[in-house]
Subunit: 667 residues, 2 copies
C-alpha cells in the first residue's frame, strides 16, 4: 500500500524492476477482487485512525496497555456499528487493528463453540446475546494440570436432579482453569469444559455455558474466583490479552446450559446420545485450525515484507557502482530470505484451499456424509502444526536477517515473534498434533490393498507400489522445474517414510509400545506428509488459469524455491529413502540458486503485493518508502527514557561509585 | 543447588535414579574444585540477598527497570569491595546477578580494548581509573549505517597539528554511533572507532578514548549528542541496558587519546606503524569470543535445566501405575530435549578448551609467535557463530517443550530467550563470521599438498586424501559408540564439503564472484567444520582421566547423543558426500534412541550438576523442588494487575458495549 506521505520513495528503483502485474498479484494474494477491496478499505480505515496507533504499545506497563486495548476494541466496535460493516468487513477491521483482545476469543471460540455444540434451541437463546455483545464469552478448557490431554480435565459438572442444575466445581488446585483468553478480566460468560457426572457415574468431558461475572457490577459471581495469570512473552505483544485463572466452588447452573448437541442429560438425570454424531465437533476444529493456517501466512508475510524491504535498503561491504552492496544481493541473505518469501505464498495458497475444504466438509456434514471428516481433520491438524512451527521460526529468522536493528522493538519483529509463537502451542501442541497425523498415516498404510483406497490428501498413498520403486528422472538442473518431477519426489519420500515406520512398528508385539518408541520417526513421517500437501496444493494452483502478466511465472519460481529449499533442508529424508540421488540434489541446488536470481528483481514487488500499510507492519525497517535511517533516529528520541539526560537512579547509585564514596582500602 | 526451603522435594524419586557421582559432575561442570567453590559461594551470596530479587523485572516500565539495574550494579560493587573479592570472584558475582548492565561493557569491552590496543603508557594512565570505576567506559564501534563492515564506519578523527588534537566528527546521519551498551545514559567515556585522517589522507579505522559526559554533573560535554536508542526485544531482558546513540560535532581530544599500540600519529602528524603487528587485535577478539562461547553453555544449560525438571513434573496422557505419563518419558520429548542437554555439556567442554586456546595464543604472542593466530581466530569466530545460533534456537525449543506454561514470564524462558538472542548478531553477525571461516577453509584446501600442513583444528584436512575415500565401518548400532567411527564420519563430511566447494569455486574465472555465488554452500561447509571441532573436543575430553563414579559413562552417552543427533539433523550432508550410507544412518538412529533411554534416569541429576540456584534460574517451572503448580498459582496472584477485580478502562470502554449504549439499528 502506498504510504509515501508525499515523500520520496527510496525503493522506487527496486519497484521499477518488477516483471509482473502488481495489481493482479495483489488480488491473487487477497483471494479475489471483492476480498481485496474489503481488505484494502479496512486496512486504510484503521491506518488513518489515530485511535489505532500502536507504536507506544511496547512501552506501556500492563494496566495501561490493557486499558489501551479495551479502548481500541471499543473504537473498533463503534466503527463496525457506525459504518454498518458486514461480518466479513468487521473481521478484517479487527485483523488490521492488530492487537490481541478479548473479542478474539468471543468471536473466534465462544461463538463457534455454541454454534458447533449447542442445540438449535440453545443457539437461538445465546447467539443473539453474543452477536450483540450483551454478553462476552471465552473458551475455558485448559487447566493448570491439563492442556493437551483434554480427557484428563478435572473440573466436574455434577447433575443435581433435585434442582435440575449442574454443580460446577474445581476439586483440586490443578483443576483450576488456566490460560483462557478474555477470562482474566473481561468475560461475563465462558464455555467451561468439565467432566460430566450423573448419579456417581462419569460421562466424559463436555462444554457448559457458565456466567462468571455480574452483568451489573462486573464482579465475580458467588463461588467464582477469577484473575489474570500474569505477564507473558514480550513487550506489548500478547499482554494485551487477559489470559485467566478460574476456580469454581460448587457453582450451580441450570441444566439447559450444558451444550447438548451430541449428548443430552434429561431432567431425570439420564444421559442420552443424540443422533448427531460426535465427529461433528471435528467440524469446529477444522474451522478453527483453518483460520490458524491462514493467519500463519499473514504473520509470515508481514515478517518477510519487513526483512525484504530492509534488505534492499541496507548496504554493507563490497561495492556496486561505488556504493556498497545491498545485503539482499548476497546469496546467503537470499538463501535465507527467499525460501521464506516463497513459504508465505505457499501458506496463503494452502490456506485458501483449506477454506474451501471447510466449506466442503460443512456441506457434507449437512448431508450426513462423514466420509471425508477423519482425513480433513488430520490434514488441518497437520497443516496447523507445520505452518505455525515454520512461521514462528521464520519470523525470528527475518529478525536476524535485519542484523542489529532487528533487535529494536521499532523494527516490529520482536513483538510479532512474541505475539505469534503461542500459535505453536494453543489449539493443539504441534508435536501432539503430528502424532495424531502419524496415527492416521499408519492406519492408511495398514489398509493399503484392502480395497479401501485412501482419499483426499492421502490419495497418493494408493500409488504406494509405484512410489516405493520410482526413480528420479532429473538429468539437468532445469528438470527440477517440472512439477511432476518435484511432486513424485515428495510423494515418494512421504510414502517411503510412512511405510518404513509401519515396517518398524510391526516388529513390536505391543503396537502401542512401538508407537511410543518410534514416535520421533513417526513425527518425521508426518512432517513429510504435510510438506507434500503444501507442495501439491501450490502445484495444483499453478495448473489453473492465473490472470495478470507475469504473475504465474513468479509463482512458478516461488513454488520451485519452496519445494527445493525444503528438499535441501530435509535432504537426509530424500537420500536415505533413495527417492533421489546425490547428483539430483546437486542439480536441485543449482536450480535453486538460479531461481533466487530470477526472484531477486521482483522481491520488493512480491512483498508490495501483500498490500500492507505501514501502520499494519508497525516497523521502521519495513517502511514502504524505505526511508529507514532518519526514522530510526527520530524514533529513538521519542522514547520517554530520553526525556532527561541524567537517568533516575544516577545520583543515588552511580555517582557514589564514580566519586569513590564506595571503596575499600585494597583498590 | 539444594533450594528446598525446608519443603518437600517432589523430584526426590528422580534424583534417586541417578547412576553417577553428582558432586564429581558438579566439579567437572564448574571446571575444577576451586572454580566450583567460587561459583557456588557467589551464587548463594546473590540468591540470599533480597536486593538481587529479579522476578519483578518483567513488569517494570523502562525507567523503573533501569533504575533498578543501577541499584543492583551499585549493590554488587559494594559487595565486591566489602568482601574484598578477587577479580575472578567479582566476575562470578556479576554473572549470578544475571542482569545486563553498563558494567558488562565497562569490564568486558572498554577495559580489554585499552589493554589490547593501548600503549603501555596509555594503559598506565587509563586502566587504574577504569579499575577503580572513576571513569565508566563503553565500546562505540557500530553506527546507524555500519555494523558488520567496520571498515565502512564514517565517523572521522582528523588530526589537527596546530593544537596537537584529534577532531572527532559525525559527518552524516548514518555515522551516528548506534548500539553501544552503557552509552545511552551512563558511560563517562568511550572507546570510539573512527576513520583516522591526517593531512587530508585516510589511514583506516582506529580506536580513540573520548570523554562523553562531565564528571561533575554527568551532562554531555559540548559537541556531544547522546541518548538511548529505545526499547529492545522482550520484557525486562536487555532493556536493563542503555544501548545508545552518539553524535560528535567537531569534538576535540588530545592526541594521546588515540589508542596507539599498532599505529602512532606523531605530533607532526606523521603516521608510523609500531613493530607490534596488527594481528595483535585478533588476540582481543579471541578473548571476547571465547567468553561468548562459554556464556552459550551457561544460557543453554539454564534453559535445559528448566525444561528437564518441568518435563519430569509435567504429566499428560497415558498412565504409569495409575498416574499419567511424565512427559519426559515420551520419545518425542526426549528426542528434542536430550540433544540439547548433550549440547550444553558439549559447549561447556569446548568453552573450557577455548579458554586454554586463548592462554596459548597469548603466550605465543608474547613470544612473537603469530603462527597459530589465523587458525585460532577462525576457530573462535566459527565457534562463536555455531554456539550462539544453536543456543538461541535451543532456548526457544526448551520453552516450547514446556507447553503453554513456557509462554508465561514466570517460566523464565521468554526473558532468557530475549536477552540471549542478540548474541547471534553482536561481536559479528553469525553468517558473516561463517563466511570468514569459509575463506580460511578454502585457503587451507588450496594449500593442501603444498608442504604447509594445516595446524590446530584444521589439522585433519591434512588427511584429506584418506578422508575423501574412507568408508564408514559401522556394522551394528553399537559401532557408533566407537569415537573413531564418529570422528571419521565428521572429518570426512567436513573435508568433502570443503573440497566440493573448492572444486565448484575453481569453475569461476573470477574467484570473488564464485565465492559470492556459492556462499550458501560455503556457509554449510563452515558449519560442518565447526561441528566437527565440538565433536572432536568432546571426544578428546573423554580420552582423559575423569574422576567420579559413573561420570565418564554419562559423558560418553551425552557425546554420542550430541554427535548422532547432529548427524540426524544434517543427514543430507553425510549421505550426499557418501561418508555414510543409509543403513549406517539407520543404525545411528537406533543407537540414539537407546542412548536416550540410558540418559533418562540420569536426566535430573545431569541438570542438578549445573548447580544453579532457584534465584539464578528465575523459573517457577524449573524449581529445584519441582513444586510447580502451587507456585505458579501464587505467582499469578502476586501480579499487580490482579489488585482490582474490575480493570481500569472497563467502565469506560466495555460496559457501554454490554449495556448496548453503542449500537446501531441493524443489530
Ligand atoms: C497464549 C495462549 C493462549 C491460550 N488460550 C487458551 C484459551 O483461550 N482457552 C483454553 O482453554 N486454553 C488456552 N490455551 C492453552 C493451550 O490450549 C494449551 O497450552 C495447549 O493445549 C498445550 O497444552 P499444555 O500446555 O498442556 O502442554 P503439555 O501437553 O503439557 O505439553 C508439554 C510438553 O509435553 C509434550 N507432550 C504432551 N503430551 C504428549 C504426548 N502424548 N506425546 C508426546 N509428547 C507429549 C508436548 O509436546 C510438550 O513438549 C492457551 C495457551 C497459550 C499459550
Ligand atoms: C544487543 C546489542 C548490543 C550491541 N552492543 C554493541 C556495543 O556495545 N558496541 C558496538 O559497537 N556495537 C554493538 N552492537 C552492534 C553489533 O555489533 C552489530 O549489530 C553487529 O555487528 C551486526 O552488524 P549490523 O547490525 O550492521 O548487521 P548487518 O551487517 O547490517 O546485517 C544485516 C544482514 O546482512 C547480512 N550481511 C552483512 N554483510 C554481509 C556479507 N558480507 N555477506 C553476506 N551477508 C551479509 C547479515 O548476515 C545480516 O543478515 C550491539 C548490537 C546488539 C543487537
Ligand atoms: Ca508506570
Amino acid at each position: 500500500m502506498e504510504d509515501l506521505e508525499g515523500g520520496v520513495d527510496y525503493l522506487a528503483d527496486e519497484r521499477k524492476k518488477a516483471q509482473f502485474d502488481l495489481n493482479a498479484m495483489k488480488i491473487l494474494w487477497a483471494g479475489n477482487q471483492h476480498q481485496f477491496q474489503i481488505a484494502d478499505r479496512m486496512a486504510r480505515l484503521v491506518a488513518s485512525d489515530p485511535e489505532f496507533k500502536k507504536d507506544d504499545r511496547v512501552r506501556l506497563e500492563r494496566k495501561e496497555l490493557f486499558k489501551n486495548t479495551l479502548r481500541k476494541a471499543n473504537r473498533a466496535w463503534k466503527r463496525i456499528i457506525e459504518l454498518k460493516l458486514t461480518e466479513e468487513e468487521a473481521s478484517q477491521l479487527r485483523f488490521f487493528v492488530d492487537e490481541p483482545a478479548y473479542t478474539d476469543l468471543h468471536w473466534g471460540m465462544f461463538v463457534p463453540a455454541i454454534k458447533g455444540q449447542g442445540t438449535e434451541e440453545q443457539q437461538r437463546k445465546w447467539l443473539p446475546l453474543a452477536y450483540r455483545m450483551q454478553i462476552i464469552g471465552c473458551y475455558a478448557q485448559t487447566e493448570l494440570g491439563h492442556g493437551s490431554n483434554v480427557q484428563g480435565l478435572e473440573t466436574t459438572a455434577t447433575f443435581d436432579p433435585e434442582t435440575d442444575e449442574f454443580v460446577i466445581h474445581s476439586p483440586t488446585l490443578t483443576s483450576s482453569k488456566w490460560w483462557p483468553g478474555g477470562l482474566g478480566k473481561i468475560s461475563t460468560h465462558a464455555v467451561v469444559y468439565a467432566r460430566l457426572m450423573t448419579d456417581g457415574k462419569e460421562h466424559g468431558v463436555h462444554g457448559f455455558i457458565v456466567q462468571l461475572r455480574s452483568l451489573e457490577d462486573h464482579l465475580p459471581l458467588p463461588g467464582i474466583t477469577v484473575g489474570d495469570i500474569g505477564m507473558k512473552f514480550g513487550n506489548g505483544a500478547y499482554n494485551t490479552m487477559d489470559n485467566g485463572v478460574l476456580r469454581f466452588d460448587n457453582v450451580r447452573i441450570p441444566r439447559d446450559q450444558m451444550l447438548m448437541r451430541v449428548l443430552q442429560v434429561t431432567k431425570e438425570g439420564n444421559v442420552v446420545k443424540s443422533d448427531v454424531p460426535r465427529q461433528l465437533i471435528y467440524g469446529t476444529m477444522v474451522y478453527v485450525r483453518q483460520t490458524i493456517v491462514y493467519d500463519a501466512s499473514r504473520a509470515l508475510s508481514k515478517a518477510v515484507c519487513i526483512a525484504t524491504r530492509y534488505s534492499a535498503v541496507r548496504r554493507q561491504f563490497g561495492s556496486q557502482n561505488g556504493r556498497e552492496t545491498q545485503v539482499i544481493d548476497y546469496k546467503t541473505q537470499q538463501s535465507r530470505l527467499f525460501p521464506l518469501l516463497a513459504t508465505a505464498y505457499a501458506f496463503r495458497i494452502v490456506g485458501d484451499w483449506l477454506k474451501w475444504l471447510y466449506t466442503d466438509v460443512t456441506e457434507r456434514l449437512r448431508a450426513n456424509d462423514f466420509s471425508t471428516l477423519p482425513e480433513a481433520h488430520a490434514c488441518t491438524a497437520g497443516l496447523k502444526s507445520l505452518t505455525t512451527s515454520v512461521t514462528a521460526d521464520a519470523i525470528e529468522e527475518c529478525r536476524k536477517l535485519c542484523g542489529g536493528h532487528g533487535y529494536l522493538c521499532s523494527s516490529g519483529l520482536p513483538e510479532l515473534f512474541a505475539v505469534y509463537v503461542p500459535a505453536c502451542t494453543y489449539e493443539g501442541d504441534n508435536v501432539v498434533l503430528l502424532l495424531q497425523v502419524a496415527r492416521i498415516l499408519m492406519k492408511t498404510v495398514s489398509q493399503l490393498g484392502s480395497g479401501k483406497p485412501p482419499v483426499g490428501t492421502m490419495e497418493y498413498m494408493g500409488r504406494a507400489e509405484h512410489l516405493l520403486q520410482s526413480h528420479c528422472s532429473a538429468q539437468k538442473a532445469e528438470d527440477w522445474l517440472n512439477p511432476d518431477v518435484v511432486l513424485e519426489a515428495f510423494e515418494a519420500r512421504s510414502v517411503r517414510m510412512s511405510v518404513a515406520c509401519a515396517k518398524n512398528l510391526s516388529q513390536f508385539s505391543n503396537p502401542e509400545e512401538g508407537f511410543l518408541e518410534l514416535s520421533a520417526d513417526l513425527v518425521g513421517a508426518s512432517v513429510a506428509h504435510c510438506q507434500l500437501i503444501v507442495v501439491s496444493k501450490f502445484i495444483e494452483k499453478l495448473k489453473q488459469d492465473i490472470p495478470g502478466e507475469g504473475v504465474k511465472k513468479q509463482l512458478q519460481a516461488l513454488c520451485g524455491i519452496y519445494a527445493l529449499s525444503i528438499m535441501g533442508k530435509h535432504l537426509g529424508d530424500f537420500l536415505s529413502t533413495g527417492c533421489i540421488k546425490p547428483k539430483h540434489a546437486s542439480l536441485a541446488n543449482d536450480l535453486l540458486r538460479s531461481l533466487f536470481s530470477k526472484v531477486r528483481p521482483n522481491a520488493i514487488a512480491l512483498v508490495d503485493a501483500f498490500n500492507y500499510t505501514d501502520h499494519f507492519l508497525g516497523s521502521v525497517l519495513g517502511r514502504y518508502d524505505g526511508n529507514v535511517y532518519p526514522k530510526l533516529y527520530e524514533e529513538a528520541w521519542k522514547d520517554p527514557f530520553n526525556e532527561s539526560a541524567v537517568p533516575e537512579g544516577f545520583h543515588e547509585y552511580v555517582r557514589p561509585i564514580l566519586k569513590r564514596q564506595v571503596r575499600s582500602s585494597r583498590l
